[in-house]
């Protein structure tokens, strides 16, 4: 499991900018950021180094930040990389709450999944998937 920094953003001007500024002022580097939005709020899911420190700074500054455990799977950067992973999840009856993907280098992609199941990681390892360790992600 790796730690995702999650930031709740109300839907008003400048909130994302403000949150990013707090992270920047903390001299924290973001590796990836994904935004989900609804009509009146948004959620930013962030990979960064020192997520605990980032969450602390954000909460102090009056944002709502939390640390969330998610599973990051390293898959080959080729057609079907994600599809195979999802088919496997489906076959194991794992329900995916949300997910997103990013490419690390030419060969590998990282698929991040939030799954409501305690043994999801074990099952993925059983299925032969490569789980990314925290230090690997923060060191990307």
């Amino acid at each position: 499991m790796i730690t995702q920094l999650t930031v709740f953003l109300e839907n008003s001007k400048g909130r994302l900018s403000d949150a990013c500024r707090v992270i920047a002022d903390g001299n924290i580097n973001m590796k990836a950021l994904f935004l989900s939005d609804t009509t009146d709020f948004g959620v930013a899911r962030i990979f960064c180094d020192t997520p605990e420190k980032a969450a602390g700074l954000l909460n102090e500054a009056g944002h709502r930040a939390a640390l969330t455990s998610v599973i990051a799977v390293s898959v080959p950067n080729e057609p079907g990389g994600l599809s195979k992973l999802l088919q496997y999840c489906d076959s194991c009856d794992m329900n995916i709450e949300y997910g997103y993907c990013f490419i690390v280098d030419g060969d590998r992609a990282i698929d991040v999944l939030k799954i409501d199941s305690d043994d999801a990681e074990e099952k993925l390892i059983e299925g032969g998937f490569t789980i990314v360790k925290p230090e690997e992600v923060y060191a990307i």
Binding site: Q4, T6, V7, F8, L9, E10, R15, S36, T38, D40, F41, V43, R45, N59, A61, G62, H63, R64, A66, T68, E97, Y98, K114
Partner: protein, 436 residues
């Protein structure tokens, strides 16, 4: 057990007759001796002779707190100073202080009213009553004290403050009944526990009479269980008398009004028309026996309802329900009366939601619009949009069913809502038009 069984269990017909006779006398006392009433009755085109039935009372004008402020200091006194035994005054924090005079008879009746509550918590001449209300211009201390003396209790006038000594007196002097504000009762209980006592089993105390400020049901239960007592809620206001206007019996379902001294109406604060028994509205009190400061139709601003069903305790005097708020903070939204306290009540049933909130009212369309901004508690899984939306939907549905008004819920970041040590501003009314 009753303090005054012949009065407290009086046949309702007889009680009604007594009320009407006394109301006529009270209106006459006010009219004959106070210029304000001659003027206000005159403007309404009535005299005390027009008061032939309870229905006639609705023709009479109201008295407000402002009227009493304007009368500062003695213009609302119906008696010369030679007959005045004591003067109390409300704090002037919200404006000019209001001064209320009491004759010896007024004080006697006050003590008797409070004494009925002492019997409601099974007190009597054998009881020790500790009065931890402040003594002074505030009516709490001396009002409770007078009740204790009327019963013949051993009264310990600790007044408020020096909480450790309060606990020591309570334990060593074997206090049976404590009278104070609910917040102070809780502080006394917590202090006793901090001092290493288990007051609910180690102290003889068995009853508590608490009032003068609002207390939630949870707080009442906490006080009752920590002290191991029967909780008696007392209602009163300094303009009318002080604590003892209404007191809660062991049935714990409303406060018996001292109807031989006070006539209560509930009005719709918008139309100012009386509402039927059982409906919520503003409490309006007419004093029936007050000699020095009679009040005819005093608007208390307190919101409650009349409970007219007979009470299992045997007392025939009708009850008022636990106060729901004050009309001062009442919001009228699409014609529905809503109190911020009701919204707060609903919010507290959602542990996922923090208790900071802000209500914003607008009317840019044809209808009033209510926006409620709340924050999630730090532990809430904010990464899952489904859970956030589900929370919004559930909170919205609960508010709709409780308030009968649709509320738009907006989840916000903590820094959006003002933090305050004192009273935070919870309501912003941006509506244009006639709303106050």
């Amino acid at each position: 057990m009753y303090f005054q069984p012949e009065i407290e269990t009086m046949d309702r017909e007889k009680l009604r007759d007594l009320q009407l006779t006394r109301m006529q006398e009270s209106a006459k006392n006010a009219f004959d001796n106070i210029e304000f009433y001659r003027k206000s009755f005159g403007e309404a085109g009535v005299t005390p002779d027009d008061l032939k039935s309870f229905d006639d009372l609705t023709k009479f004008p109201f008295v407000t707190k402002q009227d009493m402020r304007d009368a500062y200091p003695f213009a609302m006194f119906a008696r010369p100073m030679v007959d005045v035994a004591r003067i109390h005054a409300s704090s002037g924090t919200t404006g000019q202080a209001t001064v209320v005079g009491h004759t010896a008879n007024d004080l006697k009746h006050w003590g008797e009213c409070f004494a009925r509550g002492i019997y409601m918590v099974n007190g009597g001449p054998q009881s020790t009553l500790q009065v931890s209300y402040g003594y002074g211009l505030f009516t709490g201390g001396l009002g409770a004290h007078a009740g204790g003396e009327a019963v013949g209790c051993a009264v310990i006038p600790t007044s408020s403050g020096n909480t450790k000594r309060q606990v020591q007196m309570m334990r060593d002097c074997k206090t049976d009944i404590l009278a104070c504000t609910p917040s102070y009762a809780l502080l006394i209980a917590d202090t006793a526990i901090e001092m290493g006592y288990k007051p609910w089993e180690e102290f003889p105390i068995s009853g508590g009479i608490f009032g003068a400020e609002p207390a939630s049901d949870n707080m009442r239960e906490e006080i009752a269980s920590k002290l191991g007592i029967q909780y008696c809620d007392v209602y009163g206001l300094s303009e009318i008398m002080g604590p003892g206007v209404a007191m809660e019996c062991a049935e714990r379902h409303g406060l018996h009004i001292a109807e031989d001294h006070f006539y209560c109406e509930i009005i719709d604060p918008e139309t100012l028309k009386p509402v039927p028994d059982g409906e919520w509205g503003e409490l309006v009190i007419t004093t029936l026996t007050r000699e020095c400061c009679p009040l005819i139709r005093y608007r208390t601003r307190d919101v409650t309802r009349i409970i007219s069903e007979p009470c299992a305790c045997g007392r025939t005097h009708r009850k008022i329900d636990k106060l729901r708020g004050r009309t001062d903070d009442m919001l009228i939204i699409r014609g529905v009366n809503v109190f911020p306290s009701q919204i707060e009540q609903v919010i507290t049933t959602f542990p996922e939601v923090a208790t900071h909130y802000l209500i914003t009212l607008t009317n840019k369309g044809p209808l009033d619009h209510v926006l409620l901004q709340v924050e999630t508690e730090p532990g809430f899984p904010i990464d899952e949009i489904r859970k956030l939306e589900d929370l919004k939907a559930r909170l919205g549905a609960e508010l709709k069913s409780n308030l009968q008004v649709s509320v738009e819920i907006q989840l916000v970041e903590p820094k959006t809502l003002e933090r305050s040590m004192g009273k935070a501003k919870r309501v912003i009314d941006l509506r244009e038009g006639t709303h106050a």
